[in-house]
């Protein structure tokens, strides 16, 4: 857990009270999606599925 991303404020969900914090969380998730999508285009070996003969 990173306290900076979940700043402490009373009442409503703290992370929703700050535009910067929400932007950080959404941006981090967007980063994972973008990097993940590009990574899947690389010729990595495929995961060996259960029961496959690979």
């Amino acid at each position: 857990v990173d306290a900076a991303a979940f700043h402490v404020l009373p009442g409503l969900p703290p992370a929703w009270k700050s535009d910067e914090q929400m932007a950080f969380i959404v941006g981090t998730l967007f980063f994972v999606v973008v990097v993940g999508v590009i990574d899947t285009r690389l010729p990595w070996p495929r995961p060996r599925r259960p029961g496959s003969q690979q």
């Binding site: 969900p13 899947t40 690389l42 010729p43």
Partner: protein, 195 residues
């Protein structure tokens, strides 16, 4: 420590190449993802450490379910088990271990706030080596995960591209994204933009 967790995920990808990077990154912060709804409902909380003023490395985190030793192990086992269904046992084990690596890295940086049992049952002593008391050192540890992680990832991506007779541009682009994204997350975190 979000950037540090991502850096570790990139390191693992360089070795366990069959596991998708997005799944490794998701696994590396899975405990925090489960933490969010518990935090929003007040079941798990964060308080400021004495003398701290908010921002990076300032929290005492009462994540007594998601970040307890046994809770983290259970979440890791569940994540790995689910992933083993489509991707096989080895990938499931790898992803489960990456989930649990989150607890180990948090153990290094957290002040003593990590319980042994879910809900801090039994009232045992809580764990944490407290590197966050020295934020510069904590940030250096994160850097030491992000930079080598991105480099190892790029080297592995370049290698598989070369083997498949594909241009290395995409490998370079992804490696650069892993590095720049990790550094950006760390910079936003450390500079207090968030808090």
């Amino acid at each position: 420590v979000i950037a540090g967790h991502f850096g570790f995920a990139a390191m693992v990808k360089a070795r366990e190449r069959q596991v998708p990077l997005w799944a490794l990154m998701l696994a590396s912060v899975w405990l925090d993802i489960v933490f969010v709804p518990l935090f929003l409902t007040g079941i798990e909380t964060i308080a400021l450490a004495p003398g701290a003023h908010g921002g990076y490395a300032s929290g005492i985190i009462h994540a007594n379910y998601t970040h307890s030793l046994v809770g983290a192990a259970l979440l890791a086992a569940a994540f790995g088990w689910v992933c083993a269904v489509p991707w096989g046992r080895r990938s499931g084990v790898v992803l489960g271990l990456v989930v649990f690596s989150h607890w180990v890295l948090d153990l290094i940086v957290h002040r003593p706030d990590l319980p042994l049992l879910p809900g801090n049952a039994g009232g045992f002593a809580t764990l944490g080596l407290g590197l966050w008391r020295w934020p510069v050192a904590a940030a250096a540890v994160e850097l030491a995960l992000v930079i080598p992680g991105a480099w190892l990832y790029w080297r592995a991506a370049r290698s598989v591209s070369h083997t498949a007779h594909r241009p290395a541009r995409l490998a370079a682009l992804t490696g650069a994204l892993v590095l720049s994204g990790g550094l950006a997350v760390l910079a936003l975190d450390v500079t207090g933009v968030l808090g």
